[in-house]
């Protein structure tokens, strides 16, 4: 198919292009309690071809672009027609001129992973075994689970010389834990690993079962008011996305963000920990073939990098970095137990959100622990509505760490004075 696409591009005299080839295999297991309800397999291949068309208008130089999806089952005539459609559309896309990212031919990269050692179906079954290994109690248990073992291969070829490819493995999924008494409740969890990390999944399930047992015991909502809040796990990762999003090149170019390198993005008066955030690669190349390396984003509360796709970085006159999907946080000074004292600690939300435009974060609390001098109160209900720009000067992070495919850093963060609706 790659040759068919190249021939069609030549026939249409399209000289600027990028071809992205995506191949995916997966083994998928769907459980209801401990019964396998459905098994699935997938083997797919597809191509996204972006064509670039240069033109001048009103004395300015433009480079329009449009993407066509090409399928394995297309005939050469269909491929040519599809690319012709994209080429036609590109002439109306009046974007300022930019150069394509000029890469080079590199040997294919096989990303090392223990998941590469055995067939996908076996990986999926081993993760199932790990997930249910912690499901031993009668009162609280795994209600349902979905497990996906995936092998994906991506190749990127462009008219500017880029010719790279890599293969990546992951196991990911979700599961729900349930506890029926004293009240029937559930908790939802996701997981994703780049390795056959069976121990981590067993530990996660163990924690998930303990959490749902606590939620079943929770009777009261927190009283409405202002609390010192400790967020943990995936909520910390979501909160920190504020810094990665606000520093995106397209946001800066579009004036959605006024962040510049050197700006004290955590505010001028930081009384808590100064943030140290690093963008981390999940794959060796971006979708444009840009080599991905770890890059400091925020150091001691000051922005170090505007990052993003080639086009926007060129418009801003900075080095293109590609889009990052993982973040590392080099913070953490206080043990979790100390951090929790006197705080409301929501550990589960129905949907925790952070709006990068406003810095507002919040969601409905599914399970929270209120640590007071009298002891620990288990709570459910109510909602958090906070503003990170207002509170970011006093953040304190735990020394305990948390690792997922998308985040590595402190497990918890303390935020002072956040509004909670009861």
């Amino acid at each position: 198919m790659r040759d068919i696409i190249l021939n069609a591009l030549q026939a249409l005299q399209i000289t600027n292009y990028q071809i992205e080839e995506n191949e995916t295999e997966s083994a998928e297991l769907f459980f209801i309690k401990k019964t396998l309800d459905m098994r699935r397999m997938k083997r797919t291949k597809g191509y996204a071809v972006t064509v670039y068309r240069d033109f001048e208008a009103e004395g300015r130089r433009f480079r329009g672009m449009s993407t066509a999806q090409i399928f394995e089952s297309m005939t050469p005539a269909e491929v040519e027609k599809s690319l012709q459609g994209a080429w036609f559309a590109a002439q109306f896309v009046k974007n300022p001129f930019f150069e394509l990212y000029a890469g080079q031919k590199e040997p294919p990269v096989e990303m090392p992973s223990t998941l590469a050692d055995r067939p996908l179906a076996e990986n999926a079954l081993l993760m199932a075994e790990a997930l249910f290994a912690a499901d031993t109690a009668q009162d609280a248990f795994v209600n349902s689970a979905e497990i996906f073992a995936v092998k994906s291969r991506k190749a990127i070829l462009s008219s500017a010389g880029t010719d790279v490819a890599y293969t990546r493995y992951e196991v990911k999924g979700e599961f729900v834990t349930q506890c029926k008494a004293p009240q029937d409740v559930e908790q939802y969890f996701q997981f994703s690993y780049g390795e056959l990390n069976t121990e981590a999944l067993t530990e996660k399930t163990k924690g998930a079962i303990a959490a749902v047992r606590d939620r079943a015991a929770a009777q009261k909502s927190p009283k409405a008011g202002t609390y010192d809040l400790v967020l943990s796990g995936d909520q910390v990762a979501t909160l920190m996305e504020y810094y990665a999003e606000r520093s995106l090149a397209p946001y800066v170019y579009a004036r959605y963000s006024d962040w510049t390198v050197g700006k004290p993005v955590q505010g001028a008066n930081v009384q808590g920990e100064k943030l140290n955030v690093t963008l981390l690669p999940l794959s060796p190349y971006s979708d444009e073939g840009i080599p991905m390396v770890a890059r400091p984003l925020v150091t001691d509360g000051a922005l170090q990098l505007i990052h993003g796709a080639n086009r926007f970085c060129q418009y801003l006159g900075i080095q293109p970095t590609g889009y990052y999907e993982r973040m590392g946080l080099d913070n953490g000074t206080v043990p979790l137990k100390t951090l929790q004292k006197g705080c409301l600690c929501p550990v589960s939300f129905s949907d925790f959100q952070m709006d990068a435009f406003t810095g507002h974060f919040g969601g409905e609390i599914r399970l929270a622990y209120l640590y007071t001098e009298e002891g620990v109160e288990i709570l459910t209900g109510g909602s958090v509505n906070g503003s990170l720009p207002e509170k970011q000067g006093k953040l304190i992070f735990s020394t305990e760490r948390y690792d997922t495919l998308a985040y590595t850093g402190p497990f918890a963060v303390k935020i002072e004075g956040v509004e909670v609706a009861g």
């Binding site: 209801i32 329009g64 079954l125 559930e186 507002h360 909602s383």
Partner: protein
């Protein structure tokens, strides 16, 4: 005009029939869903212009479903020709169905065979103007004109992003006794007016949708005035004081409550997993007698419409709540088999690459007899809630988590002009639905967004209804 058939599916059909024939000799049941979908998305904003085929909506491939006398397996693939058929058979026979090495303590489900009732169907939806016919240049010109209009109205508007998208869907479902083909076209558009508020950006988003073509651009244009006005008002918005208030919800907010707060709770794959409280409330009052709720791909013409679902079940109109009483849920075929009920044509896949789940289609409350003016006049101290921004389901506990962008204060029956944003709706779903005391004659259905199951499995749906008045806890 009617949506034309797919030449690819026409050509692939004999091969697929051969494949199903061969698999049927070995397995009790085999079916295939073949999809050939094409889309194009247009977007204009400060980041520039984008035109292209969307990866999510432009797909071509197949999913086989096979029954081995006990359980079901599925195989999704993209490569099909005469030579590939033995390899596909081998994949199913050697890798998918044997399932070796199931860990100790885990068992395999036991299902009956899908009743493969004979059916033949070939249907297409209608459109006024196909986006291809309107053309790239004209569509981009229309979008740019709306955007320029917005930006020219007030210098505080830093951007008005605007998009238009369509999807032409061709699907073929084949089993030993069913031969179904459908051709659909939906289009939608959205605009997002943004203004700075200190270091932040506030925005007002609105959308329009149609089971049809580029005619939706006119509807989108009609939404601009309110979007600009509201975005500018949001600059002076205040923080909500948490509490329980009398609220009037616009049809868009009603739609979010219908869909997120209640609709997900009657998806019967959740009944199978014991994850939905609704299962225990069948035949009981869960809402005010003013409330009648529908879901169905056949009941309205919008982005959730189709003639048969992704498991080959014909579309329905399901009355879920009738005058406040919960009557029934919606289901996919496999969940219906598990529960011993009839499937309702709600088995949907994000694409041929994904599993089918019970999903909503067009979901709404029926209109009532009140007017919006009377509803506002009846509120002593409360809010007019508008512009939903997000929502999350909680079928197990019927907890509400919905966010609205605009809460307009009402005092003594009049809008005061004060706006509060953002606002979180919380509480217990039946409490909210039972507190409904007024339902308007106005009715609006909107299908500009997508619906996920949990945090994945995105499908197009529409939702809406009339304005409703209820007591709601806000934060």
């Amino acid at each position: 005009m009617q949506v034309q058939r797919s030449a690819f599916l026409r050509d692939a059909k004999p091969l697929l029939q051969e494949l199903i024939g061969r698999l049927s000799e070995k397995y009790g049941y085999a079916s295939v869903l073949a999809a050939d979908t094409r889309s194009k998305a247009y977007r204009v904003g400060n980041t520039g212009v984008n035109v292209g085929e969307d990866e999510l909506f432009t797909r071509r491939g197949f999913v086989l479903k096979v029954y081995d006398g006990r359980s079901y397996g599925e195989y999704s693939f993209t490569h099909l020709d005469e030579a590939a058929i033995p390899a596909i058979e081998a994949e199913v026979a050697e890798r998918l169905m044997p399932l070796e090495g199931l860990p100790e303590g885990l068992t395999l489900s036991e299902y009956g065979q899908i009743p493969d009732e004979p059916a033949v169907l070939l249907k297409s939806t209608e459109y006024a103007v196909h986006p291809d016919q309107r053309g790239d240049e004209a569509i981009l010109s229309a979008l740019t004109a709306i955007r320029d209009d917005a930006r020219g109205r007030d210098e505080r508007i830093i951007d008005c992003t605007i998009r238009f998208e369509f999807q032409e869907i061709h699907k073929l479902f084949l089993s030993p006794h069913r031969d179904l083909e459908q051709n659909l076209l939906w289009s939608d558009g959205a605009l997002d007016v943004m203004c700075p508020k200190g270091d932040d950006i506030v925005s007002y988003y609105d959308s329009a949708s149609v089971l049809g073509g580029a005619e939706v651009l006119d509807t989108l244009r009609g939404k601009l005035d309110n979007a600009v006005k509201s975005a500018l008002e949001l600059i002076d918005s205040e923080s909500m004081v948490p509490g329980e208030y009398e609220c009037v919800c616009t049809p868009a907010v009603t739609g979010m409550i219908v869909h997120e707060a209640f609709g997900h709770g009657v998806e019967m794959d959740m009944f199978v997993k014991d994850r939905a409280q609704a299962k225990r409330f069948m035949g009981q009052y869960v809402a005010s007698p003013l409330v009648t709720m529908h879901d169905g791909a056949a009941v309205k013409q919008d982005t959730g419409s189709y003639f048969f679902d992704d498991e080959g079940v014909l579309s329905h109109d399901t009355v879920i709540i009738e005058k406040g009483i919960l009557k029934r849920g919606i289901s996919d075929a496999q969940s219906a088999m598990h529960l011993g009920t009839e499937p309702t044509g709600n088995g949907r896949r994000e694409s041929f690459e994904r599993k089918a789940y019970t999903r909503m289609t067009n979901t709404y409350f029926e209109p009532g007899t009140d007017t919006l003016g009377d509803m506002i006049a009846s509120v002593k101290d409360g809010f007019l809630l508008d512009n939903p921004s997000s929502g999350m389901e909680d079928p197990k506990n019927w907890g509400i988590q919905c966010m609205v962008n605009v809460a307009r204060e009402i005092k003594n029956g009049k809008l005061t002009g004060r706006i509060f944003s953002p606002t979180v709706l919380t509480g217990y779903v039946p409490d909210l639905l039972k507190s409904i005391t007024m339902v308007s004659k106005d009715f609006d259905l909107e299908g500009g967004g997508m619906c996920g199951k949990g945090w994945k499995e995105w499908v197009k749906v529409s939702d809406g209804g009339p304005c409703i008045k209820a007591r709601i806890r806000l934060g």
